[in-house]
């Protein structure tokens, strides 16, 4: 298959063979707030860092000039260009415009008007000149991590494991996998974040027993109950809320700050102010993890700012109602696992928000025990993902296996808008189910199938995943045609659906229209574009670098000619000036290699002249020493 369909209709497991492993498989935690990449080196999982550490802020800035910045630089740009800077993009993954609408309050983003039945959120960025989907934004983050990993490991990556919240539905998983593909990665597996954390604890700390993983990230909350025994990591149950996290704490605090300033809670639609208040809220919340009181400063307009004190107790009062939304999913997950809190061996904390003392107290109260926190809650998921990547790439350890579950039930719409569940939540993956349907009208030649995910009885309350049309059935009396629908959920938790008419045995045609996410054509176009743009982007960057170099050497040479004309040999000026003219011409073109060659030619033509200048300037004592470095200084290289 050239490109996986958002819903694979082909039989699963037939994708092209993966290349033999060369030992460069990494795990990526694609987080709401921060993203990380980790790898197993000499049996130990380690996070890969750059100069500013392991955490890459999951922020992408699209500047008006077409450039894209990711991470800290993007976060800094958010202050001046809030509409062009996408933070917390994970909240929009696999979500439709209607879902985006719900989070629109106090988001600084502009959304492109969706034309017709467009089911994908599109951000309007780069000063309104460009639209990007959440998958493309995530792919920018993944590309930076890919570059970091390739630099650290000295070559192209063989495969990645990307983590997703356990409670991500099918559309959100599809979107994550698409983002990986857009970033040019082979996504070996999507791994649930709590399971990744348990893997990091289980293998590192040699834990055994039944554990609860309480994962409160920037934008999602997951609870998983796992049994660890003899190398088997068995997820008993999982639950959560894919729209609950530290972001919501920040929103609650930001709304309070705005009230203190006497401003409306949506910041009156002022994107800059909204971004500023949210950033101030986050900073204050982080500071108050340690401190009892903080001073908050928010810039209202250039040169005018608001400042006020904020106590930890105030923040705790604001976040408590949000935090309490975690209690329901925890109770349900325990019940689904058939356990009482006292039967657990431990509670593992994951996610930056679990650093807050109030969260730790809340978890301790909920489970009746102090939670474990010996692995950095920011890094533990990436470390677990690296272990899984290593396992998948054949890094030994054939005694370890992960058994994960479907987070939300999967079913079909029946007559009257009622859901018929084929696969129940917390069923171990991979799993499958088959259901047979018959025609209800004479000479009916097709079926309309609507695939949904969720726990509710009525289809309208569940998430719509896909609509199928199965046509080409020969006319028969009602009830004669028998349609066998097969659901298969693979180890990534992604659903494939196939359908076949039994009685005729004929190949019936199937058409899939994903309700959320992108159509196949669009994914292909985006992959093509990203490759093309990748070339464009790279070419443009290299050209820019060479042009800077050209300007330096031209200026330096001009200055040298003016200052030391007396040191020129006969004919030397002409040769140097010819080199300068050639470089000027190359610089005006778009071929970075031509610029580089012209720089080298001018360098060569002026080399002797530069040496003489240096000798005169420095005198005999240093002659012959560190010539290269000094020379570079003189020529401005």
């Amino acid at each position: 298959m050239p490109v996986d369909a958002l819903f694979q209709i082909a039989e699963p497991g037939q994708a092209e063979s993966k290349e033999a492993c060369k030992g460069r498989a990494v795990g990526i935690d694609l987080g709401t707030t921060n993203s990380l990449v980790a790898v197993v080196k000499a049996g130990q999982p380690t996070c890969l860092r750059d100069a500013s550490g392991a955490l890459l802020p999951s922020v992408v800035n699209y500047a008006v000039d077409g450039s894209v910045a990711v991470g800290r630089r993007a976060r800094e740009a958010a202050v001046s260009a809030p509409r062009d800077t996408i933070a917390s993009v994970k909240r929009f993954m696999g979500r439709g415009p209607a879902d985006a609408e719900a989070t629109r309050k106090l988001t600084p983003y502009r959304f492109a008007e969706s034309g017709g039945n467009d089911a994908v959120v599109r951000f309007l960025v780069a000063g309104g000149t460009r639209t990007v989907t959440p998958m493309e934004v995530s792919a920018e983050i993944l590309r930076v991590l890919r570059v970091r990993a390739e630099a650290a490991l000295g070559g192209e990556l063989d495969g990645v494991v990307i983590t997703v919240p356990a409670y991500f539905d099918d559309g959100q998983r599809q979107a994550t996998r698409d983002a990986g593909r857009l970033a040019g990665m082979e996504v070996m597996r999507l791994l649930n974040e709590p399971t990744a954390a348990a893997l990091a604890y289980g293998l590192d700390k040699r834990a055994a027993g039944t554990f609860a993983v309480f994962d409160l990230g920037g934008g999602t909350f997951d609870i998983s109950i796992l049994k660890l025994e003899g190398g088997v990591f068995e997820v008993k149950s999982t639950g959560g809320d894919s729209a609950l996290g530290g972001d919501d704490f920040d929103r609650a605090v930001a709304a309070h700050l705005l009230r203190c300033m006497g401003l409306p809670e949506d910041a009156g639609g002022d994107a800059r102010l909204a971004r500023g208040v949210l950033d101030a809220a986050r900073a204050a919340r982080e500071e108050l993890t340690q401190a009892e009181e903080a001073t908050v400063t928010v810039e209202l307009s250039p040169g005018k700012s608001w400042s006020g004190p904020l106590a930890r107790a105030e923040v705790e009062a604001l976040v408590r109602p949000v935090l309490e939304r975690c209690a329901g999913p925890v109770k349900r997950a325990l019940r689904d696992a058939g356990l009482e809190p006292a039967q657990l061996s431990g509670v593992i904390l994951v996610g930056g928000a679990t650093r807050m003392p109030i969260v730790r107290r809340f978890v301790a109260d909920l489970f009746g025990r102090e939670p474990l926190g010996d692995i950095d809650p920011d890094e533990v998921v990436a470390l677990g993902a690296a272990i899984q990547a290593d396992l998948l790439a054949g890094g030994g350890r054939d005694d370890v296996v992960l058994m994960d579950v479907v987070p939300l039930s999967l079913g079909l719409e029946m007559m009257g808008g009622v859901t018929e569940k084929l696969i129940y939540r917390n069923t171990t993956v991979p799993c499958g189910a088959v259901q047979t349907f018959t025609t209800y009208a004479d000479n009916q030649t097709g079926f309309d199938l609507h695939v949904v995910q969720g726990e509710r009885e009525m289809v309208a309350d569940c998430r719509s995943l896909a609509r199928f049309k199965l046509g080409g059935i020969p006319p028969m009396t009602a009830g004669m045609a028998r349609l066998q629908v097969r659901f298969t959920v693979d180890a990534d938790g992604i659903l494939s659906v196939s359908a076949r008419e039994e009685r005729t045995g004929k190949e019936a045609s199937i058409r899939v229209k994903p309700s959320y996410g992108l159509g196949d054509d669009e994914v292909e176009r985006m992959i093509r574009d990203s490759f093309e743009h990748a070339d464009d982007d790279l070419g443009a960057r290299l050209l820019a670098v060479e042009r800077v170099e050209a300007d330096r050497i031209l200026n330096a040479t001009r200055a040298a000619l003016a200052a030391s004309a007396d040191l020129l040999q006969p004919g030397e000026r002409e040769a140097i000036e010819a080199g300068m003219a050639a470089l000027d011409t190359a610089r005006a073109g778009t071929d970075h290699l031509a610029v580089r060659a012209a720089v080298a030619a001018l360098d060569e033509a002026s080399k002797e002249f530069a040496r003489r200048r240096m000798n005169v300037a420095l005198g005999e004592s240093v002659r012959g020493q560190a010539l290269d470095t000094v020379e570079k200084k003189v020529t401005g290289k």
Partner: protein
């Protein structure tokens, strides 16, 4: 069976006897055959779990992430079959329903397995049972309206004890010689109503007991 990989006789195991390649599942195998155990109701649950985990370690798709596409497909299909077999056999009620289905008695509970023997018998639901469930539902609705968590819990406990009795009766029915399948079937007919009741009751209980958690969109 001829192995897809080495073209030699693969034998009966999950892996080829000659080359060790994972073999596609036999779609006609029943769930007892999947585990290689005799079709007996009173099975050793701990032993079954151990066997399940051993087979999972052999067959899980993670083992074949970079293998030949045919091996990956065989691993996926076999894992799907194994997980379904485990889910069915580990639960005393599902196991009983499945054994009745193998005997040609369909009590309408095996949806999703695609198993519908040609000569299956579908049992009617006794009116007494329907009356009882209706009364239970009314009591539940009243308890919820009154926000009476204790009453909801009492109703849940009542239905759970009904289910426990059903499990005991079913075990007795299968233990009899010859097994009293029609007795077992009659006891199982009501289970789906009890289960549905429990699903609803627990949902309401969560809403009553979970405080502000009740209104989030994913309430199950």
């Amino acid at each position: 069976m001829i192995c897809w990989s080495c073209q030699k006789a693969a034998g009966e195991g999950v892996l080829c006897a000659a080359c060790g390649a994972v073999q596609p599942p036999d779609s006609k195998a029943d769930y007892f055959q999947v585990f290689g155990i005799p079709e007996v109701y009173a099975l050793d649950e701990a032993g079954l779990e151990q066997r399940y985990k051993e087979l999972t370690k052999l067959l899980h798709p993670d083992r074949f992430a970079r293998a030949d596409p045919r091996a990956r497909r065989a691993s996926l299909e076999r894992s799907v079959q194994l997980n379904e077999a485990w889910r069915t056999l580990k639960d005393p009620i599902r196991r009983a329903e499945y054994m009745l289905l193998l005997a040609g008695i369909d009590i309408g509970e095996m949806a999703g397995t695609g198993r519908q023997p040609a000569d299956h018998v579908t049992l009617p639901v006794p009116p007494v049972l329907l009356m009882e469930v209706m009364e239970l539902r009314e009591a539940l609705a009243a308890a919820h309206a009154a926000k009476d968590v204790h009453e909801t819990e009492a109703l849940i406990a009542k239905v759970q004890s009904r289910l426990k009795t059903v499990v005991e009766d079913v075990a007795k029915g299968f233990a009899a010689s010859p097994p009293e399948l029609s007795f077992v079937a009659a006891r199982l007919v009501g289970v789906r109503y009890y289960r549905r009741f429990l699903d609803e009751a627990r949902l309401l209980w969560e809403q009553e007991g979970a405080g502000p958690g009740k209104d989030h969109s994913h309430a199950g």
